[in-house]
Amino acid sequence: MNVKRTWKTVESGPRDYQEALHPVVKKNYGKWKYHELPKPGILKHVAESGDTLFTVRAGTPRQDSVDLIRRLCDIADKYADGYLRFTVRNNVEFMTPDEENVELMVKELEAIGLPVGGVGPCVSSVAHTQGWLHCDIPATDGSGVVKSIMDSLYDDFKNWQMPSKVRLSTSCCAINCGGQADIAIVVKHTRPPRVNHEIIANTCELPKAVACCPVAAIRPTVVNNKQSVMVDHKKCMYCGACFGACPAIEINHPEHSKIGVWVGGKNSNARSKPSLGSLVAHNLPNNPPRWPEVNEVIRKILTAFKKEGRPWERLGEWIDRVGWKHFFEETDLIFEKDMIDSYRHARTTFNQSAHVRF
């Protein structure tokens, strides 16, 4: 374009937050005393000054339109003095010092289809990823999986029916942008990738493709007089790292890209140390638009946790207490040989003791 540019870029970095803070927040910044949870979806913070601030939290689709965001702004203008914020799990929060505004906001949020909840011992919304809507390497969708899961867990988002917080994540490739969570839904491929020898030399830097494989399964080769790579099917464990590095090594497949469920991941330091999740179900079909098989596994896990978990105990802490055998029995999931770790540090996950439950 030849339009003359009149603006010179300002490398300002993160957006300044001063103008984004609610006046009651500004006034009591760093001087909060305690908080209470009056009811699901609502927080009440009390400051040393005696000021109180109510927060209403609601779930969003994360993939928002400007129309929805403007509606959120309307509600914020009407009841929250023109301010709002978001949580890392894509919930929106409105703050107000006026208790009367709380119920009014809840009503308006529900009227535009946003559930109020996600605070306290309940399921919060899902940390999720881009998927087919926008990423260049996904084997499944992000927002669609989340929509299907949260439809089933709607009541668990809005009510306190869990022993403790339940955090979920989804990831649409094995790289796992969604991260650790009480229950993580992650793609798992079940076949080696297919190399497109015709285009690879022009599409990718071959040494990088060779270097990216965690198990050194990729080797340089020549096919039809063209530089290419080959995948050692014996070594390959279908992680898809190569596809992320080189689009000519296609791993995604409509049938063979499956879904696995991992439980017991935890980010916080409360009680137990942060922990990585463990695989408890896999080879679930990638079944859009509703992923019923994945939903069924989540239901089984949460039904058992709801029944047996104790107050404040996170999913992984419950399993630590009752043991994996009991977990598999109670959830009706099946432990398989493939769930024994075989990568680096695998031995740290073995039972090197005489402890056993019968």
Partner: protein
């Protein structure tokens, strides 16, 4: 309903369809059912209102993905002037089939720390985005960016100039410093042991150059949590986690403790507080709750259960952990504590902290391989070497326990 009605219903549907801007998307339509807010309903409404062909293309491609269970975006290079990152290029692989999805590039925009907004900021951003782009926005990406999704390359510079003028800047991508994440911290949380918003702001501002011009071995992410509850999920999700804590004793309001026991009962105190302390640092002595602060590991549990009665101590600061990441390439790793306590009160503390971060990043860029996250470099080269390289004191806080194998070069 009898058959004739059904037919009418179908006819009515198809004549409605005639007036519609969007093509039929039967599979996506199933995601409009159910109580959770539907992103499909949102995109449809936006598309029908704005009639942007690009949105029709995206819906057609998404429907095709649902039907064929494959993705159809390819990456590429699209930039704004002077920057080497911040725009994610998206073009369809199936242009013949869906020409309207030809281009759908994304801006990663850095929000304010802890994702606070005034409606003015957000409305202006929406207006600009509707003018130049698709009107579709992700709030927020997992790395913490606002993602403005869907714009043509020809409009990128003009759009960026407009949002930059309004005070926004782009986030990172590729082997660069990435956008930071911070918890709500002192803005609204009594547990905050330092100013997460300010530190996030100052640190990311300092590294702005490295956000915009990828020149690292790989990505580097900061996350800031005000206390060990770690609401920004820093330990497994960032290369450098800054977590607030205190060094002295938990502050206890004994009247509030009694009130709590009155309300919840001694059973609850024993079952939910005392028995859940990971180091058994809490006991009942003559009916009174006592905390052995020397043995408290600052896990936050008791403070979470009794927020009115217990609060963090007064001597506050941060602990610094390094090297968290997810699966690629050697498996998921948590951050390792490398500075048990760092004072974070005055501006000079912030300066010192930034200096430390610089030497950590320099060490990594000098010692790591290409595409290696700092956690992997430390694992490969050794934590001992990292500490020496950066000039940090070794301390027993950095290990779960001392080594249990004898393969090392001892000093003599």
């Amino acid at each position: 309903m009898d058959e004739i009605d059904m037919d009418n219903e179908d006819e009515k549907k198809s004549s409605d369809q005639d007036k519609k801007f969007l093509n039929p998307t039967p599979m996506l339509d199933e995601l409009e059912e159910g109580p959770w807010p539907s992103f499909i309903t949102g995109i449809k409404e936006l598309a029908e209102r704005t009639k942007k062909p690009m949105l029709r293309g995206v819906m057609d491609q998404l429907e095709y993905s649902y039907q064929t269970r494959m993705g159809y975006w390819k990456g590429g290079l699209v930039m704004v002037r002077g920057y080497g990152s911040g725009v994610i290029s998206r073009r369809t692989m199936i242009k013949d089939k869906i020409p309207e999805a030809a281009e759908f590039h994304t801006f990663r925009v850095q929000p304010a720390p802890a994702l606070h907004y005034s409606t003015k900021m957000l409305r202006d951003l929406c207006d600009t985005w509707e003018k130049y782009g698709s009107g579709l926005i992700t709030l927020h990406g997992q790395t913490g960016d606002i993602m403005l999704q869907g714009i043509e390359e020809s409009k990128i510079q003009e759009c960026f100039d407009a949002i930059n003028q309004a005070g926004w800047d782009l986030g990172g991508a590729g082997p660069a410093m990435r956008t930071g994440v911070s918890c709500v911290g002192p803005a609204r949380c009594e547990n905050a042991c330092y100013d997460t918003l300010k530190l996030h702001y100052r640190v990311l501002k300092y590294f702005t150059e490295d956000v915009h011009r990828p020149q690292y071995l790989y990505k580097f992410k900061f996350k800031f949590s005000g206390c060990p509850n770690d609401c920004s999920n820093s330990i497994f999700r960032s290369d450098l986690a800054v977590i607030g804590l205190w060094r002295d004793s938990i502050q206890m309001d004994s009247t509030e403790v009694l009130d709590w026991i009155e309300k919840n009962g001694t059973d609850s105190l024993v079952n939910n507080v005392i028995n859940r302390c990971p180091t058994r640092a809490i006991s009942l002595e003559h009916g009174e709750m006592v905390i052995d602060n020397k043995n408290c590991v600052r896990c936050m549990h008791c403070l979470n259960v009794m927020p009115r009665a217990l609060s963090p101590g007064r001597e506050r600061g941060v602990t610094v952990l390094v090297g968290g990441k997810n699966i690629l390439k050697v498996g998921a790793m948590g951050c390792t504590m490398v500075v048990p306590f760092f004072k974070m009160d005055a501006d000079e503390d912030v300066d010192k902290f930034i200096e430390l971060c610089e030497s950590i990043i320099d060490w990594w860029n000098d010692n790591g391989f290409e595409k290696e996250r700092i956690g992997e470099t430390i694992e490969r080269v050794g934590l001992k070497q990292f500490l020496t390289g950066v000039g940090l004191e070794a301390s027993v806080d950095m290990v779960a326990k001392p080594r249990s194998n004898p393969y090392y070069k001892s000093k003599y």
